[in-house]
């Protein structure tokens, strides 16, 4: 890639005692990209988030954010990143503006400059008329917007978000992605987010899939999906194991049983459906044909579904 890397992770390993949380992860994030770390719980993405936000020292390997080493130049990294935590980090007893002012002080902003930045982010996230409301009175979606405003107050080069869509309804999730795109397009801010939701990852410029502490694959959502290439045919019916075995025999395909359904990757899936139904009359309840999703990519790479929880 020709673009400049703003996050550079090399052979990063982290162990909690005997348990390996991250193993030899190497990845780069281009400046100005929206990058998703996709993985189930226990895949190591939160550990990676903590290392990149300087909250955890890696066991071995290096990580550089905005050109600075997260261990050796910790405070310099801290000044250059904005963080949005999964758990709310606002003080509910304080107003929106008081929360922002406090955040500014922690980042060395004060006086007129702080006031100006406060007004800017309030406006950017349509919070100006809520500035003097106490945070505890705001809805979850609004609070998340305040978190974003707070994370961006000191003009970070990189915004790092841990499971930002947790607890948000679909509308608020779409809003969040729109805000990240606007930040990218208008201010050149890079976003790095962790998620266990495919459709979040699908909306990002680049996806790194983590499982069991390893980076299993990396690329744009479109490129990752073309690695599957074929259509995905999913069959629901009475006896999936027997159906899969007989389908393999009859059509020379690689039918597998995944979560109680028979799953077949096949070119020209729509032409395959009538043949299936004729071959197994009365045994099939439903057949669906789909383009591959990131979930299929995940399954191909790891051998299990994303939302079943990853083995560590």
């Amino acid at each position: 890639m020709a673009a400049e890397s703003i996050v550079e992770v090399a052979s990063l390993t982290h162990r909690y005692g005997d348990r390996v949380a991250l193993e030899g992860v190497t990845l780069n994030v281009d400046r100005g990209a929206i990058f998703a770390l996709l993985g189930p719980n226990g895949s190591g993405k939160t550990t990676l988030f903590k290392i990149l936000t300087t909250l955890l020292r890696p066991t071995s390997g290096t990580a550089r954010v905005a050109g600075r080493d997260v261990v050796a130049e910790r405070d310099r990294v801290r000044g250059r990143i904005g963080i949005v935590f999964q758990k709310p980090s606002l003080d509910g007893k304080l107003t929106v503006l008081e929360n922002l002012t406090h955040q500014g002080h922690l980042y060395g902003l004060w006086g007129r400059e702080l006031r100006r930045r406060g007004e800017e982010v309030l406006e950017q996230f349509c919070l100006t008329d809520r500035a003097s409301d106490r945070v505890e009175t705001l809805s979850g979606g609004l609070q998340r917007r305040v978190e974003l405003a707070k994370g961006l107050l000191h003009k970070p080069e990189v915004l790092i978000l841990d499971e930002p869509s947790t607890g948000l309804d679909p509308g608020a999730r779409a809003d969040l992605m729109a805000h990240l795109r606007e930040l990218r397009d208008r201010h050149g801010v890079t976003s790095l987010l962790t998620t266990h939701l495919m459709d979040d990852a699908d909306r990002c410029d680049c996806v790194g899939i983590l499982d069991g502490g390893r980076l299993v694959t990396l690329g744009t959502p479109a490129a990752l999906k073309t690695t599957i290439g074929k259509d995905v045919v999913t069959i629901n019916g009475g006896n999936p194991a027997s159906l899969a075995a007989r389908a393999n025999e009859k059509f020379v395909c690689k039918a597998e049983v995944v979560d109680g359904s028979v799953r077949i990757e096949r070119e020209r899936g729509h032409e395959f459906v009538p043949q299936l139904i004729e071959a197994f009359p009365g045994e099939i309840d439903s057949v669906t044909v789909g383009k591959p999703t990131l979930d299929d990519v995940f399954l191909r790479q790891t051998g299990h579904r994303l939302w079943m929880g990853g083995g560590t």
Partner: protein, 270 residues
């Protein structure tokens, strides 16, 4: 990136700005939580009623310099310290709540030095503790201790130093904890005995040998003694406790050591 400042360029600012901000937050939160305001104003009166009236007649004045001193008067400085202890320590436990509720994670991840978190918290707790103790001080004449401008000002200073030491101790205990239950255990097993054995409740001279020894090494003994001296400043000194100079020196030393230790603990664990 015009909005960023390199905080390391102005070291004092990088420490004081976040510390003052955290202090201010403690004040705002206190005022907005009505139950805490009522508790702060009510507690001194309850203490005075309980300790003063309840034990007044059973106190024999053993080991007290002036035989005419009754328990109401003897226990007054200790009660002031108890108020500081309770308020200071219970405000530091906001650290545990802040950690649980998530507020602390953003503070920890900011470039502000950890010492700023310690100072902000200690100053906030101390402010509340001293205000509350000074309110209780208004009752001093009722227990036979006349107040002068000199004694009130000296007390404000002494109580502030005592408060900073105790707040920093509270911070030290609260920082590594993630539940408030553990804090209560420490409170009961360690902090209350520390107060009981500080000369607040009974003088060292009347106690058994090992208790006297414990009281001598207990830093809070010197805090209570300093408060006792301050209360009687410029008048007949009615105490067998350590001298004013030693008391103040130990109290300042204790506060400094606690603050440094709190800074270490805060820097060591996220």
């Amino acid at each position: 990136m015009d909005g960023r400042r390199d905080m390391s360029a102005i070291p004092t600012m990088s420490l004081l700005l976040p510390a003052m901000s955290l202090w201010r937050r403690e004040m705002v939160r206190f005022v907005r939580q009505r139950s805490r305001v009522i508790g702060a104003l009510g507690t001194p009166f309850v203490f005075w009623l309980l300790i003063g009236s309840g034990l007044r007649n059973s106190f024999q004045g053993a080991g007290v310099a002036r035989p005419t001193m009754d328990f109401l008067e003897y226990s007054f400085p200790g009660t002031l310290v108890l108020i500081v202890l309770f308020t200071a320590i219970f405000s530091t436990y906001s650290v545990i709540e802040d950690r649980r509720e998530g507020f602390l994670q953003a503070v920890i991840a900011a470039p502000a030095p950890r010492m700023a978190i310690v100072l902000g918290n200690v100053m906030g707790s101390t402010t509340l503790a001293v205000i509350q103790a000074m309110l209780f001080l208004l009752l001093a004449p009722l227990s036979g201790i006349p107040l002068t401008i000199g004694s009130v000002l000296t007390l404000a200073v002494v109580l502030t130093i005592v408060g900073m030491g105790l707040s920093a101790l509270g911070f030290l205990i609260a920082w590594p904890m993630d539940s408030t239950q553990g804090f209560h255990a420490v409170m009961n097993l360690f902090l209350i005995p520390m107060w009981l054995l500080s000369g607040a409740f009974f003088p060292a001279s009347g106690a058994s040998r090992w208790l006297t020894w414990v009281m001598t090494v207990n830093p809070l003994t010197y805090g209570v003694a300093a408060v006792r001296h301050a209360l009687y400043i410029g008048r007949e000194n009615a105490t067998t406790a350590p001298s004013l100079t030693i008391s103040i020196a130990v109290t300042i030393g204790f506060a400094l050591v606690m603050i440094v230790l709190a800074g270490r603990v805060a820097a060591a664990k996220g």
